[in-house]
């Protein structure tokens, strides 16, 4: 029975965080990227990050995803610790056939979903996150 159960993927830590002034480790969130006819969808696991703490930045062709978690307060003494609490950060290079104006971001249950429509390249801009 144990072989068919979903296993834990250990969180990958990153050193390159840019401007992290917080005292928590920073992890690389696992992502799924799939392409359909009209768009490219990027799905990232960032548990513990509320919607307002997601920062998505698009600068020419660099897409940066940053998620910060609220401060962790440990209650009592630890008995068992299978993961570490921390922020998330990942950078992607977008190809030129993504329409920068039409990126939609939504966040639910700690999963960020970015839908990137395919079109001509456009100016860099900030993307606001709305709930799905």
């Amino acid at each position: 029975m144990a072989e068919t159960d979903l296993q834990i993927s250990e969180k990958k830590e990153t050193q390159a965080t840019g401007e992290s002034t917080r005292d928590v480790p920073v992890f690389i969130p696992p992502v799924d990227i799939y392409e359909s006819e009209n768009s490219l969808t990027l799905v990232a696991d960032m548990p513990g990050v509320p919607m307002e703490n997601v920062d998505i930045d698009l600068d020419s062709d660099q897409l940066t995803i940053r998620g910060t978690v609220s401060q962790y307060e440990q209650k009592g003494e630890a008995l068992f610790k299978e993961y570490t609490y921390g922020d998330y950060y990942r950078q992607f290079t977008l190809s030129s056939d993504i329409d920068r104006e039409k990126i939609q971001a939504s966040m639910k249950d700690g999963v960020l979903k970015l839908v990137l429509a395919k079109a001509e390249a456009a100016k860099p801009r900030k993307i606001t996150v709305k709930s799905s």
Partner: protein
């Protein structure tokens, strides 16, 4: 189904004391895993979801990362001292899509945890928010530390 028992040692009480050591140990484990080729035990080997279990005098606290799982998809049950978490993580529906990258795992899971003390099942609180599960399992009355007053002269 995976059942866990606690190691005999305990984490130090000072919060953050082990963080630097833990990070160094994780990095060393990764570097050295090249040589041991699968025989080393990772820091968190086991069934989804990863959990942090803490306790104080009043209750046992369980926190777990369950991204993409809503409260309805998760089944929590307590029988005696065994806490069982089970559910299924469903993949995103993608019609006619080709995957460029696939790092997120999906599937069904079932994890059983043996708690170190008796708890009061009537008073369990569970919260599922932003992909993080938080459980408060209050300890049974007979287990809580009892202060005994000493009468002076």
């Amino acid at each position: 189904m995976a059942i866990f028992r606690y190691p005999n040692w305990r984490w130090p009480d000072i919060p953050g004391a082990m963080e630097d050591f833990e990070r160094a140990r994780r990095q060393m484990d990764r570097l050295l895993s090249v040589f041991s080729a699968g025989t080393s035990t990772p820091a968190s080997s086991g069934v989804f979801p990863p959990l942090i279990v803490t306790e104080d005098g009043d209750a046992i606290y369980v926190e777990g990362e369950i991204p993409g799982i809503k409260a309805d998809d998760l089944d929590i049950s307590v029988v005696g001292r065994t806490l069982t978490l089970s559910g299924e993580r469903k993949p995103e529906e993608a019609q006619n899509a080709t995957y460029h990258r696939r790092e997120r795992k999906w599937g069904s899971f079932r994890k059983a945890l043996t708690l170190p003390e008796d708890i009061n099942p009537e008073a369990i609180q569970a919260e599922c928010k932003n992909g993080v599960l938080k459980l408060v399992l209050p300890k049974a009355e007979h287990v809580k530390p009892r202060k005994i007053a000493i009468k002076g002269e």
